[in-house]
């Protein structure tokens, strides 16, 4: 047997390019359906688990899928916002705890999620280092976000400016990192959490500037009319919230009108959930209430349907590939008729020659299986990120 394997190995090594092409073709043919199956299975499990863990999601009328993807997976943007007053309205019903979500800006590509302390207890997020958010201008980072941004409690991060050329756009805000969360393998790991008021400040809804009633600001004052003060563009805007300027930050307008991307509603019980959902079923309402798991199941059903088509196509390509490979071996055996005849004439049994040719095929297949297995293993490691990216690209 060793001799047969040795001869097969020498043949494959001598014809290394042909061997490499065969191994590549078989590896890809095996890897694609395997990886697709495994990655989809694991990814959908996680996607569905997060959706299933979120009982009720409220947002402005529009695409439920976009609402779920942006609010639960922090991918994409919601097409419209609802008002903060809805949080207060849900609270007033006593049916559920309302958790606001405002996902506006980004820090180093990581989403900045403005929310309330209830979010952390609802998602069972615990602080690994530092402390929870206590004041506006503070940030609590997901484990992966902290690792990527290379920041620790006590350091700071700066939000991304919307655009250099947009003079009406929001300016960057320096955030003080007060803590880092334990990793839990969800999109929360990638997020930068702030208080919802901080999120509004980042969005330009709230702001802080020098006190215009002080004498040193007089040079910037254009007009004083009772309590109304009109200042010029030279007035100093604060881009960092500190203990000394915290009181200079303020919001103009009614807080109940301030925008939110979504609200997670955590009903007291099943009945409360149904009742709350029913309140937002009317076609005239400006809020839609959805069950994320239903939306995700619809999406995943589509994904699985597409998967069936893809698998069928890959299967057909696989059959064609294996047929071609079989043809290559048959033609190769024909081309080697002289060599086979020589071995027979010297004294080799036909079975032994067959075993040698079989060993060549077995070595190619075994190598391909090892490569396909290794690639599939890597795919299971990175496949979820890939799917995550695909979902965000499609959203």
């Amino acid at each position: 047997m060793t001799d047969i394997l040795y001869l097969a190995w020498r043949y494959l090594l001598f014809n290394r390019w042909k061997t490499a092409v065969l191994i590549t073709a078989i590896t890809v043919t095996m890897f694609l359906p395997l990886a697709l199956e495994l990655v989809l299975e694991r990814s959908t499990e996680r996607l569905r688990a997060r959706a299933a863990a979120t009982p009720l999601l409220l947002g402005a009328p529009g695409s439920p899928l976009e609402l779920v993807l942006s609010s639960l997976y922090f991918n994409g943007e919601v097409p419209a916002t609802l008002s903060y007053g809805t949080v207060q309205a849900i609270g007033d019903t006593g049916l559920a705890t309302a958790i606001p979500l405002q996902i506006g800006s980004r820090v180093g590509g990581k989403p900045v999620v403005g929310t309330s302390p209830d979010y952390f207890s609802f998602r069972e997020l615990t602080v690994a280092r530092g402390r929870p958010i206590a004041l506006p201008g503070e940030a609590l980072l997901g484990a992966a976000a902290a690792r990527t941004l290379e920041v620790s409690p006590g350091e700071s991060v700066v939000t991304e400016s919307e655009t250099v050329f947009d003079v009406t756009g929001s300016y960057p805000l320096k955030l003080h990192v007060v803590g880092v969360l334990n990793a839990n393998g969800t999109p929360d790991d990638e997020a930068v959490f702030v208080d919802v008021r901080t999120a509004w400040i980042i969005d330009g809804i709230g702001h802080g500037h020098e006190d215009l009633s002080r004498p040193e600001a007089a040079a910037n004052v254009l007009q004083r009319d009772g309590e109304n003060i009109v200042a010029n563009a030279a007035v100093i805007q604060y881009r960092e919230i500190t203990s000394t300027n915290l009181r200079d930050f303020h919001f103009h307008g009614d807080i109940s009108d301030f925008p939110l991307d979504a609200i997670i509603a955590v009903p007291a019980d099943d009945k409360s959930g149904v009742l709350l959902e029913g309140r937002y079923q009317a076609p005239t309402t400006s809020v839609q209430a959805i069950r994320p798991v239903v939306v995700m199941d619809e999406l995943l059903a589509t994904v699985f349907t597409v998967r069936q088509y893809v698998l069928a196509a890959v299967g057909l390509v696989g059959v064609a590939t294996f047929a071609t490979i079989a043809l290559v071996f048959v033609l190769s055996a024909r081309l080697r008729r002289g060599e086979i005849d020589t071995m027979k004439r010297i004294g080799a049994a036909p079975g032994r020659i067959g075993a040698m040719l079989g060993a060549e095929i077995a070595l190619v297949l075994a190598t391909s299986v090892v490569f396909a297995g290794t690639l599939t293993w890597f795919a299971t490691l990175w496949g979820e990120s890939l799917l995550h990216w695909m979902l965000s690209a499609g959203a």
């Binding site: 001869l7 020498r10 001598f14 020589t342 071995m343 010297i346 004294g347 080799a348 032994r352 040698m356």
Partner: protein, 222 residues
């Protein structure tokens, strides 16, 4: 060494027919077989080697009647007792010189290399002037070197009988004489019997006997 009586052979689908009343070749005899193309020289070698089974008659090689052996027994007999040299060398292009010479050991379970095999290979390749080429592949060798490798492959199992089918047919005149001399030296050194088919009458001088297929009176072609 070889005793043939009342041999008859016919290819299943061809009109070619070989008949041989009697032929005896002694041990260590060096016999050249000549004859026109299609006269049955190669067929005769293949019958003596046990590659083909005769339709009738007796072929005894080293006291063994090949006609009564099974295919497996004939293969075993051939790989142990007979060394074959072909006109086109028939080396395996994916094996280096060392592996080509050792091929009989790799393709047959009836042979097992011993402690004496490696020194034998070294001695033979030194004698044949190819010891420096052991790690080379056939495409890196000259025609003469390839045939020397083929001779080493035929002799590595220390066979009693060497059957050579026009071993110099693909060589230039200088190489022909050189390779023939090396072959005869090795046959002499290993005390083997040699039956060599050739078209080249310039090479007949060193042989003990020359068999002309026409003189055997048994070959018929349609």
């Amino acid at each position: 060494m070889i005793s043939i009586k009342h041999l008859e052979f016919r290819y299943p689908r061809g009109g070619f027919r070989l008949r041989l009343a009697a032929l005896d070749i002694a041990e260590r005899e060096r016999v050249a077989v000549v004859g026109a193309s299609g006269s049955g020289k190669t067929t005769l070698l293949e019958l003596i080697a046990g590659i083909r089974r005769p339709g009738a008659g007796v072929i005894e090689v080293a006291g063994q009647d090949l006609a009564v052996l099974t295919d497996r027994q004939r293969r075993g007999f051939r790989v142990r007792r007979v060394g074959l040299i072909f006109q086109a060398f028939e080396l395996l292009d994916y094996l280096n010189v060392r592996d080509n010479i050792m091929l009989p050991y790799r393709i047959s379970p009836d042979l097992e290399a011993t402690d004496a095999t490696a020194p034998r290979l070294e001695q033979m390749t030194r004698d044949m002037g190819i010891i420096e080429r052991l790690e080379r592949f056939p495409h890196e060798l000259s025609q003469g070197e390839r045939q020397r490798v083929a001779i080493c492959r035929a002799l590595i199992t220390a066979p009693d009988l060497i059957l050579a089918d026009e071993p110099t047919g693909n060589l230039d005149p200088d190489n022909k004489q050189r390779v023939l001399k090396l072959l005869l030296d090795q046959v002499e050194r290993h005390a083997a019997t040699l039956v060599m088919v050739t078209h080249d009458h310039d090479l007949l001088a060193p042989f003990d006997r020359v068999l002309d297929m026409r003189a055997l009176h048994g070959v018929t072609n349609p």
